[in-house]
Amino acid sequence: MKGLSKGRWSESALWVSSLIEKLWGRAEDIAPSPSETASPSRSFMKKKTIGRWKESAIKAFFFTNGVLAIIFLIGIFAVLLSTAIPAFKEIPLKEFFGNRTWDPTSPEKAQYGLLSMIVSTLICTTGALLVAIPIGLGVAAYLSDVAHWRVREIIKPIVEILAGIPSVVTGFLGIVLFGPVIAKIFHTGHGLNAVNGSFLLAIMALPTIISISEDSLNAVPSAYTEASLALGGSRWQTLVRVKIPAALSGIIASFMLGLGRAIGETMTVLMATGNARAFPHGFLESVRTMTANIAIELGEVPYYTTHYYALFAIGLVLFIMTFIVNLIADVILNKYQQREL
């Protein structure tokens, strides 16, 4: 324990001295060397110190810009939290997370139950992952193991194009293209339900899953593949029994990132899921997700009412959910990269 603290102390002393060096320059740099005192080169020296100041000022400038990312992330959290707190003063947490009824404008008693929206979000994202995981992993495996490199060069930009389609266009196609088809297949009156939303969310999550899974499949050391092939395994066996297990952490991380995208997606679900407030009991029902609810109600709500604050509370819940999902993906990816090194 003592040794540890001593080590830490000497470390921080080193850090302080290096900081001082950085700010003022090393002692030997500042002290004029014999040759310099001999010749009148003061202006040169002055220039040098100014240059050093300029350098550290420039570095500080870029550093500030780098740190902005942390400030923004904390800022978003702080803004959401401070605006959501008044809501939690009025609404008990038990009602907020346990009540199924969201009816803030009820004339008798306003109810703020988030449960059916949380379940709706979960239904849509689960459906999306059920579709996106097998297809995304399949495409990734195809690109990394089967496709000719020329094919890969063509397909990768196409996947990027898919990622570039605006969500509002995807939602629109959900209404005009998939809606009628779903209504016909499942004999529902209209096709605006959780199935439609799930399908569209799957399309939106696919590019993330494909590109990150493919990267991690490509990162599997070739020695693994070669060993498997040398032992007589077919390319398919190598893929399924060696490469995918070896890349599993990266692949799971890609699922998590896809999940994060699906949870936070607003416009597609807003347009394609029908937005009924009732508690959903299955995929064929119209659902209203958390994101869609914010989008629907924030435009009409009077400012600084409990309802207004409650919408920010939903935003806070969303922020925390996606943050956790992304953090898990990050931890998995980091672990994976460290092992590769």
């Binding site: 870029f62 550093f63 990312a69 800022g75 195809y142 089967v146 939602g171 989008a295 953090l327």
Partner: protein
């Protein structure tokens, strides 16, 4: 032995089937919008404001609105993204702080777009009192784009070989001098293409501008940055779901979707093609 081959054949067929499914969906999207939207496109549609409760006329104000808001986005996101990327790639050492910065950037890119919208409502509309305006919406979209521009700029900086920096440093140049003269000139084209990709995505976003400045209908063009504006994605949303005569305006909705997708994918493709060309041309 033969069984193994058969399984492999079936397996690879399945994988190929996955790829074809994705391609088919993309083609179906583009075909449907291209075919039904193409009929709505005319010079009048592109150059006139909507008329008669948006059942006739064009989408000119929406195009202009999206254009203006994207400029505000670019003004915020491009410099900030580049500076942050320069710090991360050129100056930052592997410290805990650097790891936290990188973690924040990755998490920022995962924050739902509607949450950015909520943040914009509080910070830009209420606290900074920009009101619901082009400025508020552009800044909100700028924040949303920032993680993408940082990542893309850093990718561009990473492609510059270290020998460029070392050569300059060895000749006595300071750190900033070598970055300015030996790194940035070669990295800036790549940084710009990356940021264009980010801007294209921002131009197609709807959720962040819903409450920070996009207007349902405006008969005139915005005169200053503090005016509300019509935007293509929001206009499409209204035509598709909020309009009183949805079936009647479907062709207009298709037309708007086509313009939006041509705009966004056009920007995307230009950036991708430029990047591809640069990669092929440059042999260090």
């Amino acid at each position: 032995m033969k069984k193994k081959k058969v399984i492999q054949f079936i397996g690879f067929m399945l994988l190929r089937f996955c790829l074809y499914t994705v391609l088919a969906i993309l083609l179906l999207f583009l075909y449907d919008i291209g075919k039904k939207g193409g009929g709505a496109i005319s010079w009048e549609f592109l150059s006139q404001p909507p008329r008669r409760g948006m059942t006739q006329g064009g989408i000119f104000p929406a195009i202009m609105g999206t254009f203006l808001v994207t400029i505000v986005t670019a003004v915020l996101a491009i410099p900030l993204g580049m500076f942050a990327a320069i710090y991360l790639n050129e100056y930052a050492k592997q410290t805990r702080l650097t790891r936290i910065i990188r973690l924040s950037i990755r998490n920022l890119s995962g924050v739902p777009s509607i949450v950015y919208g909520l943040f914009g409502v509080i910070l830009f509309v209420n606290i900074l009192k920009f009101g619901t305006s082009i400025l508020s919406a552009g800044l909100t979209l700028g924040l949303l784009t920032l993680p993408w521009t940082i990542t893309a700029s850093e990718e561009a900086l990473k492609t510059i070989p270290n020998s460029y920096r070392e050569g300059s440093l060895a000749l006595g140049a300071t750190k900033w001098q070598s970055i300015r003269t030996n790194v940035l000139p070669y990295a800036i084209p790549g940084m710009l293409t990356g940021t264009v990709l980010g801007l294209a995505r921002a131009a197609g976003e709807t959720a962040p501008i819903l409450f920070t400045g996009a207007a349902f209908y405006l008969p005139y063009l915005p005169k200053s940055l503090s005016d509300q504006f019509m935007a293509l994605p929001y206009h499409l949303y209204i035509l598709a779901t909020q309009h009183h005569a949805i079936q009647q305006v479907r062709p207009l909705a298709y037309g708007t979707a086509l313009v939006l997708i041509v705009l966004v994918l056009g920007l995307n493709m230009t950036a991708i093609v430029i990047r591809y060309r640069m990669r092929r041309k440059r042999r260090w």
